[in-house]
């Protein structure tokens, strides 16, 4: 065996809480977000948007706008050189509205001018004649075949049924409910922005943009701009959060087209109000569910009807629907299922990806149901979940066996073991009470409640999509360079990737090159997939490099490369005495490998919703403690305890960050976040009235990691981004029910839901 390494310092390898490499720039304010970009001779771009949720466009008159000094160009649908529509799944969304506008805020035109103020004046001078139509805003009506279609593709985006097992079986316990979720917004802080610079020959364009998936943007942009894909070069600029809202393109084509038309750099930037209209939101849903259970509360059959309102354009609605429907059973054994689910089109705001992607909706329903089953069976919310808890090998209602590690029982028990918060003191500081400094309540007005939520979440993409990620590793003179197109949106992949390289290659200095389209796709930063997919790609590339390195060292020292290993920062002969630092072995050498990581294939769902359509699953349990002012209906979430199935903690600090951040978002959906839509009109596109949790709303979070390495995962780790925001919402609502006795069935819970 080799001699003991003399290097005992802590290295930032896998398993350590390595610090973000971009942290220094971010705390100094020098990190360049897309809104910080600037170019010499640049113009500003801005978008004209429809004030109506549904209208026919009679005419667009830009004459007056052209006359304004400082305006360089104005574009409409007539100026789109290639495909007039785009979309992640079906290309049903116009770059600029042509005959119809189908949602409030739909882009109709764009201008480029010397100053944002000039842009604003130019937009105000464009005259659009609309024939205002009655918007379709009721999702049920959208399902009705007699309702006139609001789009050539029809009003039903997708219908998905899951039929499994005995369709008639029932049990002594039958509980049902109809659950509703309002529209949640991702509300990332760094609003949409991009800088586009056209090639002088007019045959290409360079775009710096904050996005979740560079290559998908590139593909859609190329089609609309009528350019070869390799002529649309995208570089990732700093991303101020995403949470799903950057999966669809927003200003990319507009910005690039303005740049190509003016032959000057174009900067586009949305303010907060425009941002609310500029991206997709979480699907509002109405979910009816009925469970049949035995007298012990064990599920016999689940029935559900799910209706998701996708708004004006399809976006990723059909995939969101798959997730919602296939997760109807929750993390529980269930042999019989009858699920019908629909994603429909209306003139409401377009909906698509948001952290949780359909499972948030299903989970609110199934967790609310589990408490009803518990009540009917006379057992506790913990016991009903333990009794039904899934294990590895159990089947989903799609027939897919859960091959992933499935420590559902452990998640529940470990959450249950976490300490409860202390009671409120006799004379609490007002800031501890619901209402805070508003001093609305005294101690005696407060009731405390406890509630539970447990969830399953699929990791990665589904239904036969051959998802992959690409990475290149270069080891030269003791330094590793990593190249990948993985979007860093704050989640910390730029921290993890070097940790992988350090572990595999025994090198400490790792440089992450800019993320752009000069390398192959890394797929989207979504679906909790990047640790697995891009981590797998970086790991794969580094392992190939290590193979080359060992071959080289083996040749040099006449040792079979299979005997070599990395120990700390050295290469050692596991069966001999050789020990050389990696830095020394790589002096004057360059080893470079590119790896494309694919996950194992998945299947489509058949007409009964049967098929192995998902790759893997992660599980989590949440227990929420809330204090409620029952007379005023005000809520303070005191503590959320959670045990999350993460596989392996590759970076504990990053994991905690995802858990705490996800819980805050789930809390927002539970008690305060909703895009209020009235007849297709958004009533609250601002942070004054779209309320995000503040420092005084955040609960104490007590978290435990459940670490059972998943053999399928390249690094043993599951994605951790989404589970924290999923079952926390029903846990909070259950806690409010516990405190108030109210049968709450809608989120966000509003004060008047509690007290009136």
């Amino acid at each position: 065996m080799s001699s003991v390494s003399t290097s005992t310092r802590q290295r930032d390898v896998l398993g350590t809480s390595a610090l973000r490499p971009d942290g220094g720039a971010k705390v100094q304010g020098s990190f360049a977000f897309s809104s910080d970009l600037w170019a010499e001779n640049m113009l500003w771009g801005a978008t004209l948007r429809s004030p109506h949720p549904y209208a026919r466009i009679i005419s667009i008159d830009t004459t007056a706008a052209w006359k304004i000094a400082g305006v360089e160009t104005i574009i409409t649908h007539e100026d789109v050189p290639g495909q007039l529509t785009y979309g992640l799944i079906s290309s049903d969304q116009p770059v600029f509205a042509k005959d119809f506008v189908r949602y409030m805020g739909e882009p109709v035109a764009a201008v480029a001018a010397d100053h944002p103020e000039t842009c604003r004046r130019a937009l105000a001078a464009i005259v659009v004649e609309y024939e205002v139509l009655t918007p379709l805003t009721d999702a049920e009506r959208a399902l009705d075949p007699t309702t006139a279609p609001i789009h050539p593709d029809g009003n039903v985006i997708r219908e998905l049924n899951i039929i499994r097992g005995d369709q008639k079986t029932t049990g002594p316990i039958v509980v049902e409910g109809t659950y509703e979720l309002g529209i949640q917004d991702q509300a990332f802080l760094g609003t949409e922005a991009a800088l586009a610079i056209a090639d002088q020959d007019g045959q290409g364009v360079e775009v710096y943009v904050a996005t979740q998936w560079l290559h998908e943007d590139q593909k859609q942009m190329a089609a609309c701009l009528n350019l070869p894909v390799d002529k649309v070069r995208l570089t990732l600029s700093g991303v101020g959060g995403a949470f799903g809202a950057r999966e669809d393109i927003s200003l990319q084509v507009h910005c690039a087209l303005l740049a190509m038309r003016t032959q000057r750099p174009i900067k586009m930037q949305y303010g907060r109000e425009e941002s609310f209209f500029g991206h997709v939101h979480r699907h509002p849903a109405k979910i009816w569910m009925r469970h049949h259970a035995d007298k012990d509360g064990c599920i016999i059959r689940v029935e559900s009807r799910m209706l998701l309102d996708g708004g004006a354009y399809a976006s990723t609605s059909s995939a969101v629907l798959t997730n919602a429907a296939t997760h109807a059973q929750g993390p529980y054994k269930c042999e019989n299922a009858t699920v019908s689910s629909f994603a429909v089109r209306t003139n409401n705001p377009p909906c698509g990806a948001m952290r949780g992607f359909g499972v948030v909706q299903a989970c609110f329903a199934h967790e609310s149901q589990m408490d009803k089953i518990a009540a009917a069976a006379g057992i506790s919310p913990v016991d009903v979940r333990l009794r039904n808890a899934m294990k590895t090998g159990d089947l989903l209602i799609t027939g897919q066996p859960v091959e992933s590690v499935a420590p559902v029982e452990r998640c529940i028990r470990e959450t249950d073991a976490l300490p409860m918060p202390e009671d409120l003191p006799a004379t609490p500081d007002p800031l501890l009470l619901p209402g805070g400094s508003g001093r609305t309540a005294d101690r005696q007005h407060i009731k405390r409640g406890v509630g539970w939520g447990v969830s399953i979440k699929n990791i990665m993409y589904s239904e036969g999509f051959d998802d992959y990620s690409t990475a290149r590793a270069t080891l030269q003179d003791g330094v590793v360079m990593l190249k990948f197109a993985t979007s860093e949106v704050g989640q910390g992949f730029v921290t993890l990737a070097p940790q992988i390289a350090r572990t595999v290659l025994g090198v400490d200095q790792v440089i992450v090159e800019p993320m752009d389209t000069s390398i192959g796709s890394a797929g989207s930063t979504s679906a909790s997939r990047q640790t697995w997919m891009s981590g797998g790609a970086v790991d794969g590339a580094c392992r190939l490099v290590r193979e080359r390195l060992f071959e080289h060292v083996g040749r040099q020292h006449n040792i079979d490369p299979l005997r070599l290993a990395i120990d700390g920062t050295d290469i050692v002969d596991t069966m001999g005495h050789l020990r050389i630092p990696v830095s020394e072995a790589t002096q004057g050498q360059k080893f470079e490998e590119t790896f494309e990581y694919h996950h194992r294939p998945t299947e489509d769902l058949d007409e009964n919703g049967q098929g192995n359509c998902h790759v893997a699953f992660a599980f989590v349990a949440h227990r929420a403690v809330v204090d409620v002012d029952t007379e005023l209906g005000l809520v303070k979430v005191v503590q959320v305890a959670t045990a999350q199935d993460i596989g392996v903690a590759l970076n504990p600090l990053s994991v905690v960050g995802q858990i705490e951040g996800g819980i805050a978002q789930g809390l927002g959906l539970a008690v305060m976040e909703e895009i209020v839509v009235d007849n297709g009109r958004v009533r609250n596109p601002s942070f004054t009235d779209y309320l995000l949790p503040t420092a005084l709303d955040a609960p104490v979070v007590v978290a435990a990691f459940v670490e059972e390495p998943d053999p399928q995962a390249p690094l043993g780790a599951k994605g951790v981004g989404e589970p924290p925001c999923i079952s926390v919402t029903p846990a909070i609502v259950a806690a409010i029910r516990d405190a108030t006795g109210k049968d709450l069935s809608r989120v966000p819970v509003r004060p008047y839901d509690i007290c009136q």
């Binding site: 400094s437 609305t440 309540a441 420092a695």
Partner: protein, 283 residues
């Protein structure tokens, strides 16, 4: 657009005389939002930031009267002798926006805007505050009740600057409460300020003012006179206090909007009024 920055109050008055349609700017927490969103395009702005004459407050112990300059930021009302003297104002100040907003926002701004949701306004109403206005022709004092005439409407003349508010220090308990959906940076759904004053005739008299539930701040005069006439032995009975709350709710005139419903606002006023009176009579 022109920005004028006077160094003294006299300079400011002269500028305002020359530019009667000018916007007066101190903290900017209302005006700049409108400018940022292009809802307002001022042609002339007179920035009052340097007017130290507006930034002081005083407590006259003899007269039992407080005067607060229109440019005193809310943050300054949250602590110290001013907060000890007028705790209901301190409590209201603490609920304004965020710490950043409280460092900039002023009562002068609240009065200049006169939004029914202005956090300081129910306090001015309950304290029967006097608004001090200055113009080139002299000073004018007007009761707050006469100053605010409707949503975002007041009687300030275009050549007047709000210089201060003054109020008698009540002899008794005072408190403020405000309802919103979240626990910080709360936009008021309903608010109330209650004062119990023994200073007139030794009898404890209640004053109750409501915010965000009508076109102006609502002084619940009927509810006040009803409770003030209840025999003092009955005043703290549960049934009496409950009725106080529901009468206050009846005097409110809330509307439905995207933030809340009229029903909930009325209910919230009842609850707040009841709780404030309970606190006040138990202390």
């Amino acid at each position: 657009m022109t920005v004028l920055i006077p160094n003294t109050l006299d300079e400011a008055l002269a500028m305002l005389s020359d530019n009667p349609s000018a916007d007066l700017l101190t903290g900017g927490t209302d005006m700049m939002v409108e400018v940022n969103f292009n809802h307002r395009k001022p042609s002339t702005v007179i920035a009052l930031r340097r007017l130290t004459e507006l930034q002081s407050w005083s407590i006259d112990k003899e007269q039992q009267r407080v005067t607060i300059g229109a440019g005193v930021p809310y943050a300054e009302m949250e602590r110290g002798p001013l907060a000890e003297t007028l705790p209901c104002l301190a409590e209201a100040a603490r609920t304004v926006g965020s710490p950043q907003i409280r460092a900039a926002g002023t009562l002068g701004g609240n009065l200049g805007t006169c939004s029914p949701a202005g956090d300081g306004l129910p306090v001015l109403s309950a304290l029967d505050a006097t608004v001090h206005l200055l113009s080139p022709t002299g000073e004018r004092q007007i009761s707050f009740h006469d100053f605010m005439t409707g949503p975002k409407r007041n009687v300030r003349a275009s050549d007047e600057i709000i210089t201060a508010v003054s109020m008698n220090i009540p002899n008794g308990w005072q408190g403020y409460a405000k309802v919103g959906v979240r626990n910080a940076m709360v936009i008021s759904v309903a608010s109330a300020c209650l004062v119990l004053d023994h200073s007139v005739s030794d009898t404890r008299m209640v004053r109750l003012a409501l915010g965000s539930v009508g076109p102006t701040i609502i002084r619940c005069r009927e509810t006040e006179s009803w409770w003030n006439s209840v025999p003092s032995t009955q005043q703290t009975a549960t049934a009496t206090i409950d009725e106080f709350g529901s009468r206050a709710g009846d005097e409110s005139r809330p509307i439905d909007d995207h933030r809340s419903t009229a029903d909930y606002r009325r209910h919230a006023i009842s609850v707040l009024s009841r709780r404030l009176l309970t606190r006040g009579t138990q202390s």
